[in-house]
């Protein structure tokens, strides 16, 4: 693919952001739903807002669509301040969490709604609706009412209705929330394809981190109305910037510790709970003796019965729980301090002659560059 070779816009210096959210705050009475959020989103991005329930994702989307007035801050789209532009005049369309299909109109009428409002000639409306119906593969339902459709079909209609005006920006509020797992995965790839084909900028809200990983060019992790980290999916997972992000995205083991040797090249950290010292092969900007958290993902550890030849980053404990998941197994290992560590191992062979089992004592070790040190 050619796309792989071009540098994404957000990594280029001086690239013009398509959407600029500047210090946006939204309060409902005393309650702050969106707290001083600043965010730049670039053309053709598929940006995911990831966050737990009540973190303010929908509110931020509704601000962009123009349904919520700002308490303070500014939203610019393509360089134009949106302050005085009404929802019906914005170059934005939204796909609602509930789909919000008009129950009294057929699928075709639902899709045509936006164009009719713009007084597009009848011939052209028919043409574009037909085009959209075939793109979403829902031609056969064109004359049904929404209550005669399945969840997946409704979702397609909602997407078609939101895309037909060829908006510059499409907002999707948990677009796949109502679908079952299998359909969800299929639709995720379809969404990416559609976005690729049409070149519309997407902002997708989700609370499912796997979905965000699959879809996004970049992920913004949101909690309590604040965006804590904005990065590419891989970086959000491998280099979480804070404890909150580390815990929210995937599962992770956290060890509180204290730095006892600080060098430009490496850092050594002591942790009582872990029962061993940690070695990180890069410097960290911190004060001596500072309290930090060492985070290690469950799949980044090697599990052995024999003690590995390594002084640092080596835990010892007893297996207390095993969950077989098919493609991998999850082990819960109890350390001497009582702390439970989670480890995952791929099930590489069908029958293991000497499998790890309950009450086995094992060593858990990892490389010097596998862990993340969190200071906040």
């Amino acid at each position: 693919m050619t796309q792989e070779t071009t540098i994404p816009l957000w990594k280029q210096d001086g690239a013009k952001p398509f959407i600029q959210i500047k210090n946006v705050t939204k309060k409902f009475g005393e309650f702050t739903a969106v707290d001083n959020v600043s965010l730049d989103i670039y053309e053709n991005e598929l940006f995911c807002l990831l966050g737990g329930s009540g973190s303010g994702k929908s509110t931020l989307l509704r601000i962009l669509a123009g349904f919520e007035e700002l308490t303070s801050g500014q939203v610019l789209i393509d360089g134009i301040d949106m302050a005085n532009i009404e929802p019906w005049n914005r170059p934005i369309n939204m796909m609602f969490q509930s789909y919000a299909l008009f129950p009294h109109m057929t699928v075709a009428k639902n899709i045509a709604f936006g164009l009719k409002r713009d007084k597009v000639p009848k011939k052209e409306i028919e043409l574009r609706v037909a085009e959209m119906l075939s793109m979403m593969q829902i031609e056969e339902f064109a004359h049904r009412k929404p209550d005669q459709l399945s969840g997946g079909q409704r979702q397609r209609v909602a997407l078609a209705r939101a895309l037909i005006k060829r908006p510059k920006l499409l907002l999707l509020d948990e677009p796949l929330g109502a679908l079952d797992k299998k359909l969800r995965e299929e639709t995720q790839f379809e969404l990416v394809n559609i976005q690729d084909k049409l070149g519309v900028t997407f902002i997708v809200v989700t609370h499912d981190q796997e979905e965000a990983m699959t879809l996004a060019t970049r992920i913004g992790v949101m909690g309590n109305g604040i965006i804590t980290q904005v990065d590419e999916p891989r970086d959000v997972y491998e280099y979480p910037s804070s404890r909150f992000v580390a815990e929210f995205v995937g599962s992770i083991n956290l060890f509180d510790g204290r730095i006892y040797e600080d060098d430009v090249e490496h850092v050594k950290i002591k942790s009582k709970k872990a029962g061993c010292n940690f070695f990180v092969n890069h410097g960290i900007s911190c004060s001596p003796n500072q309290k930090v958290t060492v985070a290690i993902r469950p799949e980044k550890m090697k599990v052995t019965r024999r003690q590995p030849d390594q002084e640092y980053n080596c835990l010892y404990g007893q297996i207390v729980d095993i969950a077989y998941m098919g493609n991998l197994s999850i082990f819960r290992v109890k350390l001497k301090s009582g702390k439970i560590v989670r480890v995952t191992l791929p099930n590489l062979v069908r029958e293991n002659r000497n499998p790890l089992t309950w009450d086995d004592f094992v060593y858990l070790a990892w490389d010097y560059d596998s862990s993340v040190v969190l200071t906040s």
Partner: protein, 267 residues
């Protein structure tokens, strides 16, 4: 069949007999040949023929249908406005009181509604000369006051079930707020409006008490005529008339319920 369901079917049978035996006997006796209501003299439709030759009854029927039609239409217009305002205004101080006012006529005893309206009409006539005398106009106004309340309640409950994001979705697609009502809201509540209209129509057709208070001479409604005839003794003619009215009301109620069901499915 379990013992429990046997019990249920027997008790529902009793319930139905209790409800419908009087009506059934009335319908049967309307086809009685004999002039004496209590004596069966064989089948005949002569009372129906006589009914349609009775000018007093024809006149009353015309009044009744005219009143019911106009009342239902007015009630729907006013009721939809009231229901829409109540469900869309959001929370404002005194909302509870206002919605109470709208539904008060539903529980007000008819005698009181009738009497108070009569007093109102009389004093209005004295003050501004309108409505001049009592007749169809005053019956329509009186019926509209309580039928409108039914429509408002039905419409309000439909609107409160409607997804708020429908209107937002319409605006998002370019609809201006002032066009939302006709594009989105009205079509969605139209089944509620139809069933409200039918309900108002049948209630107006049905009403005796309020109409007796506010009607004038020469403007008797059908129930009033039936009632006055009964005072002279029940004739098979009245039975025939009542049978026709039961039929009309039953059709109206069933149609209203059918509309409601259809709309529930759509939501």
């Amino acid at each position: 069949m379990t013992r429990n369901s046997k019990f249920l079917s027997i008790s529902s049978l009793f319930g139905f007999i209790f409800l419908y035996a009087p009506i059934l006997s009335l319908i049967i006796y309307s086809f009685n040949k004999s002039k004496l209501v209590t004596v069966w003299g064989g089948w005949s439709v002569k009372w129906y023929v006589e009914l349609f030759n009775n000018q007093q009854i024809i006149d009353a029927a015309i009044v009744s249908f005219k009143v019911a039609f106009i009342t239902a239409t007015l009630s729907v217009i006013l009721g939809v406005l009231a229901g829409y305002v109540l469900s869309r205004m959001g929370k404002f101080p005194g909302k509870l009181i206002v919605s109470g006012w709208v539904s008060a006529p539903l529980i007000m005893p008819e005698v009181i509604t009738g009497l108070s309206l009569l007093l109102l009409f009389v004093s209005l006539e004295n003050l501004i000369g309108w409505p001049a005398g009592r007749g169809i106009t005053t019956i329509i106004i009186a019926h509209t006051t309580f039928c409108m309340a039914y429509v408002a309640v039905i419409v309000q409950s439909r609107l409160s079930q409607m997804d708020d994001s429908l209107e937002e979705a319409a605006m998002d697609l370019g609809a201006k707020p002032q066009s939302l009502f006709f594009l989105i809201t009205l079509p969605i509540i139209s089944p509620a409006i139809i069933s409200g209209w039918l309900l108002a129509f049948t209630m107006s057709l049905d009403d005796l008490v309020i109409a007796s208070f506010v009607s004038g001479p020469g403007n008797s409604t059908l129930p009033m005529v039936i009632f006055s005839k009964i005072r002279l003794g029940v004739t098979p003619e009245v039975n025939a008339l009542a049978t026709i009215m039961i039929l009309i009301v039953a059709i109206g109620v069933v149609a209203a319920m059918w509309q409601m069901r259809k709309k529930e499915k759509a939501l």
